[in-house]
């Protein structure tokens, strides 16, 4: 009776049970499920002893499994049989030894399969969509980079011509106009260069930098070279630029980073300070070396950064100051670059007015 119930149940479930006899032949111990009947029908009439190909392979594996005498059941991959009516039958086979009887049973998975499939489908589709979005973004960045780069070329000509005009004979009104045009063109140059800097730092985040003191940049040298380059620009605007630490320093201070980019960071911060200074103001660049790190500050007497944007100051495309801001990319570049080297940058207001940007760099130490 119990045996009949089991038999009926297996039939209802469309499960298949096979037993491996001592003679090495597989005998069916259940009803033949629909997917098997249909398969055999196709493969040469009822009673054909050919198993569907996946099952045939699994039966060979099962045979070996039983020979090895492993207690744990062997489970197959899921697979699908498709009956001629187009219906898919998701199946999974297991081989196990039940009290000396060597059985293989094939389950019809039905809903469980549909669930698994839905989950995997969603996961894979999401991965694909993410990948293609990512690629799209990269492509756009490269395109933008090319555009910005192209915008830069005519500027050299404009600045050059305006400089010649500025040097020529002309009345006061014209001279003023030329000066304004020249100033605007230079500002645009700075803006474009900052955009390009950001591209460079973002597209090559893994760009190499030095930790070894023999190759690491000398902060003192970088400060000296940037101050030299910016001296005349500050002078033209009648803004003071001083560094007591530079005057006092005797030995190099090696820091983790790259000289060219360290100088770009300093230049960005100086440009920023200059932009927010009025004639007669003073900008100070100071640094102090500790055992492991160096702290560098650049301070101005400008209006300071409004509270409302302090939290987002170092993000892309945030501009400080309502009308005087150039692109908001300069500070983003600084943060991005410094953090790649394990450094940091912060902002604090000065009393009674002004800003201090505080840069932390790691010293490049031997060993």
């Amino acid at each position: 009776m119990a045996k009949d119930v089991a038999h009926e149940l297996l039939g209802e479930l469309e499960w298949l049970v096979l037993e491996l006899g001592p003679n090495g032949v597989w005998t069916r111990r259940s009803h033949a499920p629909k997917w098997l009947v249909e398969h055999r029908g196709e493969a040469g009439g009822p009673g054909g002893d050919e198993w569907p190909p996946f099952l045939a392979t699994f039966l060979d594996e099962a045979r070996e499994h039983f020979t090895r005498g492993v207690a744990a059941p062997l489970r197959s991959l899921m697979w699908c049989e498709v009956t001629p009516d187009g219906r898919e039958w998701p199946l999974q086979a297991s081989a196990l030894d039940v009290g000396g009887r060597r059985l293989v049973f094939v389950e019809w998975l039905d809903e469980r399969y549909a669930e698994l499939r839905a989950i995997l489908q969603r996961a894979r589709q999401t991965t694909l969509e993410f990948d293609s979005l990512h690629r799209e973004v990269l492509k756009k960045e490269v395109l933008l980079h090319c555009i910005v780069h192209d915008l830069k070329s005519p500027l050299a000509g404009i600045v050059g011509s305006l400089s010649l005009l500025a040097d020529g004979e002309q009345d006061a009104a014209r001279r003023e106009l030329v000066a304004i045009a020249l100033e605007s063109a230079r500002r645009q140059e700075v803006m474009i260069r900052q955009v390009l800097d950001v591209f460079a730092s973002e597209l090559s985040t893994s760009q190499s930098f030095a930790r070894d003191p023999r190759e690491a940049p000398d902060l003192v040298e970088s400060v000296r070279s940037v101050l030299q380059a910016y001296g005349p620009v500050f002078q033209r605007r009648s803004v003071g630029l001083t560094s007591r630490s530079l005057a006092a320093s005797r030995a190099p201070i090696r820091v983790v980073g790259r000289a060219d980019r360290l100088e770009r960071v300093l230049a960005n911060l100086l440009e920023n300070a200059l932009r927010h200074s009025d004639a007669g103001d003073e900008v100070e660049l100071e640094f102090v070396a500790a055992a492991q790190s160096v702290e560098l500050t650049i301070s101005d007497r400008g209006p300071g950064v409004p509270e409302t944007i302090r939290a987002t100051l170092f993000q892309k495309f945030v501009q400080s100051g309502p009308s005087r801001g150039v692109a908001g990319l300069g500070l983003f570049y600084c943060k991005n670059t410094l953090e790649q080297w394990g450094g940091a940058i912060g902002y604090e207001p000065r009393e009674p007015k002004g800003s201090t940007f505080r840069v932390a760099l790691n010293r490049a130490l031997a060993g």
Binding site: T57, E61, C80, L120
Partner: protein, 170 residues
């Protein structure tokens, strides 16, 4: 003459077009809709090569990803294999080559062909000609295919079939 029966596996990353290539070849169908394969789906194709009948059992395996790894047992008794990549995802070529290396012992000296699929998507194509030239120089048979417009699909299966028959008769 009873047909020679061979087992061929389709291996590669997910969504590279293994199922689509089989469907194109066996049923001349193509669908834009992506329906991921769970486990394996087996299809059959009968053909005649130089007067010799051949039955190819095509094992379309699921694409390997972080959720499901392929295991060597699926290659049991395989006579040949297609390693399939998606030309619009350069990484899938590396993955296909990695699988080829991992399963080389299981495939023995059975012939294998690298299919770089989705060749119809020229604008998104990522795989460089130099990469393919380098693989060919290393001995790979490489074909750029499209399950969508059928490019090189028949040819790929025929080449593999010939190679398998040659090997059988040796």
């Amino acid at each position: 003459m009873t047909p020679t029966r061979v087992k061929v596996c389709m291996l590669g990353s997910f969504a590279v077009g293994k199922t689509s290539l089989v469907q194109r070849y066996v049923k001349s169908l193509f669908s834009e809709r992506y329906q991921t394969t769970i486990g394996v789906q087996i299809d059959k194709k009968e053909l005649v090569i130089d007067g010799r009948p051949l039955t190819i059992m095509l094992w379309d395996l699921y694409g390997e990803d972080e959720f499901q790894k392929l295991s060597a047992s699926f290659l049991r008794g395989a006579h040949g294999a297609f390693f399939v990549a998606d030309g619009t995802r350069a990484q899938s070529v590396d993955h296909a080559l990695e699988l080829a290396e991992r399963f080389a012992p299981d495939l023995g000296d059975g012939p294998r062909i690298l299919l770089v699929n989705k060749h119809d998507l020229a604008a998104q194509w990522e795989v460089r000609d130099e990469t393919l030239a380098r693989l060919r120089a290393k001995g790979w048979l490489v074909l750029c295919t499209s399950a969508k417009d059928g490019e090189n699909v028949e040819r790929a299966f025929e080449l593999l079939a010939r190679a398998m028959l040659e090997r059988e008769s040796d």
